[in-house]
Amino acid sequence: MSTPGSDALAVPARDPAAKRAASIALIGNPNTGKTTLFNALTGLNQHVGNYPGVTVERKVGALKLDDKAVVDLIDLPGTYSLAARSPDEMIAVDVLLGQQQGSNKIDAILAIADASNPERNFYLISQLCELHLPVVVALNMMDVAETKGITIDATKLSEALGTPVIPVCANKGTGLPELRAALQKMLTQGKPPAGKLPVFPEPLQKEADGLHTDLHGAAGKIGRDVNRLEAFRILIDKGGYAETRLAGVLGADFTKTLDERRGRASKIPLPAEEVRVRYAWVKQVLGPSLHRPAQPPPTKSDTIDKIATHWFSGTLLFALLMLIVFQSIFTWSKPVMELISSGFDKLGEFVGNHMAEGALKSLLVDGAIAGVGGVMTFLPQICVLFFFIAIMEDCGYMSRAAFLMDRLLSRVGLSGKSFIPMLSSFACAVPGIMSTRTIENPRDRLTTILVAPLMSCSARLPVYMILIGTFIPERKYLGGVFTLQGLTLFGMYCVGLFVAVPVAWLLKKTLLKGETPPFLIELPSYKIPDWRTVLMRVYDRGKAFAVRAGTIILSVSIVVWALSYFPHPASIHENYERQRAAFVEKAKDPEAKEVKDAQDDLAKAEDGEYLRQSYFGRMGHSVEWAFKPLGWDWRISMGAIASFPAREVIVSTMRTIFNLGKGKGEETEDLGKAMKEATWDNSPAPLFNIPVALSIMVFFALCSQCAATLAIIRRETNSWRWPLFSFTYMTVLAYIGAWAAYAGAMALGLQKITQ
């Protein structure tokens, strides 16, 4: 059933990058100013995507070398070595070897090194020099090196390496023209570094060659030809990712032969052999051009750290900073959020006023505009959070925060790097989950992503407020310092936090079990943040959120809208039209306030009737039995289910369900009154009491009713498996928690207490 139209759609979109002349890979240690250099070289001309199947970001920019040549600059993840331990770390190696799906072949390497700490940086460069590709070294942070009394003779070093070494200050833009010229020259020549390469002992070379030949013979089985460099890594990195992915294909024999080869290759452990040879090479190449004072002068960074990581002032500063961040997410974004929200309301109103009544209008106004608007209001929060994260990361404080918090989080099997995402999730889980990108270990990152939505986000607040305000008595303790209402609210915030601890612990013990990742992190020198890098980061994250989460949210909103709109029988409308007509006839003055109010009531009742008759309403009735143990009737159950797009939706859904809305503006009070008056169907027994209110609140504290969060988990993990898992485990927890809250409160007799 192939038609010309569908064929045209099947053709993959042409990658504009494919037309460019060449691809250059930018690689270096973390904290070397790699992102700053990338931004300085490419400007706003960048494209962010994902490599297929993994969570690594694929960032490509257009690098203008001179008036004619524009090449691709590919930003690879920061790394200390090419010894990959996870699929994410393997990406860099595969891209460099030209065997990564979704990436062009690399024509040259731009290696960035921190001049203030050259030895460790040149360890990686020694590996890059062996790739048979042209290499240009950008020696960054020469200014920081100077404050440490370190000088490097770039000309001499360039001679020893046999390839250009260009001193740059990426944040000030110095040395960039020279860097472009060197890249242009190396691309034209196409020659790998001419200097002496690290020399490995004969037995190690022989075994690497042997393994290379073996793997060449097994190319049919593997499905590709493994090159010599990958064979070398497989031999040295026992248990590394390059070995693991082949072991799956080649079986136990392969592992056995490999271990025998390792035994013959060296008397000392192979990684130690590699490190010995490479650091000897670094000393030989770098030594003559490097001058380092015997007694390094104390730097400003050391002075700052005496305060910033001190047990008392460090902790205080940390708490203060977090408070400022947390508070700013609320206060800074609030006016903009209100602006966006009212903008979407106005848009909805405008569209509503200019369209004929019917399904299409409802789809646009109630489905698309309300749904997308609801998500877009979170955009300011995301921008504010990432503004702070980018500053803290770029100036070097983020690794100190991880240093301070690691002990606390390592108790549940996480590391200090999970702290910021968890804290951010108290505002909104979406930016929190997005900020887990700073966690390199994939298992840690996934665990953090899965527990982050348990933190009580701002969308839960309206649910807590209405229920606490309506049903929890106003009792004062300690002379009014504490109130029962305030304590209940605090308790709700604790529920998520206390549940997250065992959940994280359990995940790390079972599903996401594995070697404990090392907490080896560099504490880089402090520096003034680069504003371009900070703003680019905010822009990147904001755009990613708006585009990707926005499209998924739009589709979910439409589905939910359709379920609560259809079948929309005409009989209901006719019935209410009759009632309205009869009412207007009876009324003496059709303009009187009571008449208008009554008309309003009728309209609300009509909406309620539609909802009851809709697929969602029917579902509510059919699932009522399942929620009975929680003390809920079909209306509460339906409200909870219908709030799948976002938790706060329950408030507006309940308003619709309980058929009210007398006059706008005092909705909270009105809803409270209506909930107090609500009774069970066919019974005068009140529907709500303290146990029911508690059960609803605990349910919302633990449940996963937030399509934006699920969409962002899908985006960040690149699979539907984890959002499904997250939804399932949180819903089960929420149900059990709500049941326990209801049963516990009933047993204590709390249903007898009224406000």
Binding site: N117, E119, A272, G416, L520, E522
Partner: protein
Amino acid sequence: MTTLDQLKPGQRATVLAVSGTGTAIYQRLLEMGVFEGAELSVVRFAPLGDPMEIRLQGYNLSLRKAEAKLVEVNEVHAG
């Protein structure tokens, strides 16, 4: 036998050996410059006693005590 985690802030030492062969931590420690013969000093411990901060090759590295236990160091000389 003295291991890195037993040192006090301000103490200097030379690495004698690194254990834990075959693990990711072992290889990473080596690559970061913590190998036989490397000179390092302890800067401080985090407020809760763990992790610790050391200085080597002119840069500062943070590692957990459990990882520092893998690093055997020579007699300490104050400095």
